[in-house]
């Protein structure tokens, strides 16, 4: 027992020093808001949030921001005939899907930037071939202008066509919390970044503010 004691003490010290899980940052524009509370002037911070939207998913169900209330979600932009980065992105996104598909408070939304070709039946077929079932991963179809506008609020740039006639888009996965704030951006083509995304989703889920909000 005597011999064990120093070891035990060391263990206690070590466990006390274990680094605390870092909280995720809140990204995007922020503005100070000055309010008067109980006669005192208080300055608060307003964070950028994802505005309301209306799109249709692969099951032809209308999806608005309300459908994502109380959910942590990941968003990205793609199109089904994309020859370059989309297959890599969705190969990686599949890992996110598999990890969280049984969690009803989590969603993945993928906006098509080519709504003319990617009609709802095309999106459904894509989902089937990807092996996506249920409601945890929505492929969203919408008016092109709406999609390109919402991309901006996710800090993404989408261009219709480059001189070679191809769509250009960022390959990022954007992590959104239950308050619709941006909490992380991840290079969707990099498996290591996507591993970090999965880890960050777990951290985010454990945040008291997230766990409490419905």
């Amino acid at each position: 027992m005597r011999k064990l004691l120093p070891g035990i003490i060391l263990l206690i010290f070590l466990s006390a020093c274990a680094p605390k899980q870092a909280a995720l940052p809140i990204l995007g524009n922020r503005e100070p808001i000055t309010k008067t509370v109980d006669g005192k002037t208080v300055t608060d911070t307003a964070y950028a949030t994802i505005p309301d939207f209306k799109f249709v998913n692969q099951y032809a169900d209308t999806i608005t921001a309300k459908n994502l209330n109380g959910k942590i979600y990941v968003a990205d932009f793609f199109f089904t005939t994309c020859p370059s980065i989309c297959p890599v992105m969705h190969r990686n996104m599949l890992n996110v899907y598999k990890e969280f598909k049984d969690d009803d408070n989590f969603r993945i939304i993928s906006h098509t930037i080519d709504p003319k070709y990617d009609t709802i039946p095309v999106l459904k077929r894509y989902a089937d071939k990807m092996g996506i079932t249920g409601n945890s991963w929505w492929l969203l179809h919408g008016n092109k202008g709406d999609t390109y506008n919402i991309a901006k609020s996710y800090l993404q740039t989408v261009q219709e066509k480059n001189p070679a006639g191809q769509f250009i888009h960022d390959g990022f996965f954007i992590l959104i919390d239950k308050q619709k704030r941006i909490r992380g951006t991840y290079e969707g083509t990099d498996p290591k970044e996507v591993e970090k995304l999965i880890a960050d989703i777990k951290i985010l889920k454990a945040e008291p503010e997230q766990a409490a909000s419905k």
């Binding site: 020859p83 370059s84 980065i85």
Partner: protein
């Protein structure tokens, strides 16, 4: 002194070993390593780093029997793209592989890489063979 002698002999052996590689092997290595870079740039996004494909959307490149049976058409598949139903590993795929206008030498290199990676082993597909196959493209 002894050490110098031993290391000298060792060096000699290595030089011999390298130069003893048959011409065929050297040619294969050239094609294969060049093909690996071309694969990364032109194929890997869709077909994956391990040739695993993507679910039921993009076929894997691991079906050695398919590759053997279609060896003479592989060059055309790259040059002209591939459309319609194909059966890979007894699974049906129906999509479209876009055209990739690679030079014949690049096609030869990348085919040598693909047909000798991911569990495939078909030897070198050289430039002469690719040029002959390309002439028969439909």
């Amino acid at each position: 002194m002894k050490l110098k002698l031993i290391s000298g002999i060792l060096l000699l052996i290595i030089v011999f070993a390298v130069s003893c590689q048959s011409d065929k092997q050297v040619e294969f290595n050239r094609y294969y390593s060049g093909g690996s870079a071309i694969y990364q740039a032109h194929c890997e996004n869709c077909h994956g780093a391990k040739g695993e494909g993507l679910q039921a959307l993009i076929p894997p490149l691991t079906d050695s029997i398919y590759l053997k049976n279609n060896k003479a058409s592989l060059s055309c598949y790259i040059k002209k793209g591939l459309k319609g139903k194909i059966i890979i590993h007894e699974r049906e795929f129906e999509g479209e592989m876009p055209v990739d206008d690679l030079a014949p030498i690049e096609i030869a290199k990348v085919l040598t890489y693909v047909t000798n990676s991911f569990g495939n082993k078909m030897g070198t597909i050289d430039l002469q063979r690719v040029q002959a196959d390309l002439e028969k493209c439909r």
